[in-house]
């Protein structure tokens, strides 16, 4: 029998050379005359160990990593395939980084071949849909409501309420749309899930369709994720062939069709109404609300629109019951969130934890501190619209309400660490610049305000007598953007700006002279 060797095909692992490692492993095995089977899996989420090689020895997967292609021959000679080569990390699932997680949504990611439907079913896949097919729509919606699941895209709106609104609409046609436009810097959980366990998302969307009476779904995927596109499209074809999608799912008489649509590099499409405009083939300009998408959404029909992780959390909720999921977490933040450790962090990767862990725990116990070895000075949580959090607030529990309480947000769970070399005035300027580049242009506070914000930051960074007045003007501008913008892009850009100003005022009062200010302006990419 051949020896099973596991190597990730996740984009992050490929970016670090996993493909070359897999080729080198096959080559070395042939030379040695050993029969191996290289199973391509999702990533375990321990990105600093990628390319991670796992060898199954007596039913236990022993890890080695990072293993570059160049290191393979020596490792194989030293007994890699028997698990005897020196440098082993031990059983991968016993590594503290992995073992201490609560993996509900990511239970299968990194464990199985993402496109092996039999392995998916053998590891609990489609249990949720099977149960849903035996229930009425209202009961499925109640189960999701009772689980306490809130929108994982960042807005944290109760998923069950959205579903209930769509269920209550009396129309012939309804849609399920998955928001896979994961544009926040520092986030990659959607990508990892779609590449590492696409059937979970397909199952979650199918359950949503069965629950609300929708027969057609779209996954709106950002163009920057070509690997996820391939994985999803292949998985959809397999699910169709095996009758888990189509006109008569597993003989239940229920119908659900699913299609992947590519975005085109517009951050604003993470906002659900602009995403719907884009799906309809228009400029992705934000819609006025009301009407809500749940009442008039895609093509003017009632539409469930949820983030990847929200939908991918539904199968486990249906399979194990609302109470099981609700028992994780704290306060009104129930269940788990896949946090993503990114930026200047030693052990970057994905950590799925129940709500309630602190930022400090994630940054140091999991993350191991900064990658550069210097002190972590600021952490941006929740993407480019999230606040910068200073060290004094690292003990805040990761809970939607607790973070709102300190003027920050949990958002999609992205955590970007910066060491003490960061210039927070530059980051505030960047936040405004990003908003100017990505604004859809529909409302004035966002379209004009962001450009004025960049100009103001340039003046503040250059220094001089007008600075105090400029800082006051910046605060007023942020107030206008926050309360006057149509959506979260203009409305939340002030969060990183104001938090940087509040927690790191010294960076706004330092004269940089014309040269540094010019260097910052040189990054200007406004059209």
């Amino acid at each position: 029998m051949s020896i099973k060797v596991f190597v990730s095909r996740d984009a992050a692992a490929l970016a670090l050379g996993a493909e070359e490692t897999a080729i080198a492993l096959r080559h070395a095995a042939r030379q040695k005359g050993v029969a191996i089977e290289v199973v391509r899996i999702g990533s375990r989420g321990m990105v600093w160990l990628e390319p991670l090689v796992e060898v199954e020895v007596a039913g236990v997967r022993i890890g080695y990593g990072p293993v570059t292609a160049g290191a393979v021959p020596a490792l194989v000679a030293a007994g890699l395939f028997e698990g005897r080569a020196p440098g082993a990390l031990g059983p991968v699932e016993k590594l503290p980084y992995f073992a201490k997680q609560e993996r509900l949504t990511f239970a299968r990611v990194g464990l199985i071949d993402p496109l092996d439907l039999d392995a998916y079913v053998a590891h609990g896949g489609y249990e949720g849909l099977k149960r849903a097919l035996s229930m009425g729509g209202a009961d499925i919606v109640k189960e999701v409501s009772d689980s306490g699941l809130r929108g994982r895209g960042g807005a944290a709106f109760p998923t069950g309420i959205k579903w209930k609104t769509v269920l209550d609409q009396q129309t012939d046609r309804k849609y399920v749309v998955c928001n896979a436009d994961e544009g926040d810097s520092g986030t990659f959980s959607d990508r990892m899930l779609m590449e590492g366990d696409p059937f979970t998302l397909i199952e979650g969307m199918t359950i949503a369709g069965v629950a609300v009476g929708a027969t057609r779904g779209f996954i709106y995927l950002r163009a920057e994720y070509p690997h996820a596109a391939v994985a999803l499209r292949e998985a959809i074809e397999i699910a169709k062939k095996r009758n888990w999608l189509g006109r008569d799912i597993q003989g239940s008489g229920r119908e659900f069709e699913l299609e992947v649509r590519m975005g085109a590099g517009a951050y604003v499409c993470g906002e659900e109404t602009s995403l719907l405009e884009s799906l309809e083939g228009k400029r992705a300009e934000v819609r006025f609300r009301p009407p809500l998408p749940a009442i008039k959404g895609l093509f003017n029909q009632p539409t469930v629109i949820n983030n990847v992780i929200s939908l991918a959390s539904v199968p486990v909720i249906l399979a194990k019951g609302a109470a099981y999921y609700r028992d994780f977490g704290m306060g009104r933040s129930r269940g788990t969130l896949p946090f993503q450790l990114a930026g200047n962090i030693r052990h970057g990767g994905l950590v799925e934890k129940a709500f309630g862990a602190t930022l400090r725990e994630l940054l140091y116990d999991y993350g191991g501190g900064s990658a550069t070895g210097r002190p972590i000075r600021a952490v941006q949580v929740g993407g480019p619209l999230g606040a910068y959090v200073p060290e004094s607030q690292f003990d805040t529990p990761l809970d939607y309400e607790a973070f709102t309480g300190i003027g920050a947000l949990v958002g999609h769970g992205g955590i970007v660490a910066f060491d003490d070399s960061v210039d927070m005035a530059h980051m505030a300027r960047y936040a405004m610049e990003f908003c100017a580049v990505e604004s859809c242009g529909k409302c004035t506070p966002c379209r004009i305000g962001s450009t004025r914000g960049v100009e103001l930051m340039d003046r503040i960074m250059r220094g001089g007598t007008g600075r105090a007045g400029d800082i006051k003007l910046l605060e007023e501008l942020c107030d206008t953007m926050q309360y006057g913008s149509l959506c979260g892009l203009g409305g939340m850009t002030p969060f990183p700006v104001i938090s940087a100003l509040k927690h790191f005022p010294e960076d706004f009062h330092r004269d940089r002279g014309d040269n540094t200010a010019k260097a910052s302006e040189a990054h200007h990419v406004l059209p």
Partner: protein, 159 residues
Amino acid sequence: MSDLPEAQALALDALVARHAGMPGPLLPLLHAVQDEFGFIPAAAIPRIASGLNLSRAEVHGVVSFYHWFRQHPPGRHVVQVCRAEACQAMNGVATEEHARKCLGVDWHGTSADGQFTLEAVYCLGNCAAAPSAMIDGQLYGRVTPERLDELLAQRGKPQ
């Protein structure tokens, strides 16, 4: 505006016909056109508009709205460098600067020899191995200026 050469016009019409029946066809069609030609030629817009029963202004508005769609032919290789926060936290600004300097272009420019087009992107989802870049659809992590030199040299850039 010159019309498309006949072979391109035929290819375009085939793409339009293939997409015309689907709900919300414009973005999938524009992706298909860019995959075929490398960009969206101005001369393609009237044909797309008439094929989908839209105005030319509507199609042009969509093409110009989305960063992903190019209105000019790219170089042989497309180099996308991430400018977002997680990459900046790992000194991605040095990689950005190096890319612009060594290719001798600004963002969205093409090098004088027509080999490399440089594009800014905002997050490639590889934030735990920053800074990130994508070249011709291939993703790379920990792209320091030195690593970028290696990757460009592999694609024939003289040192």
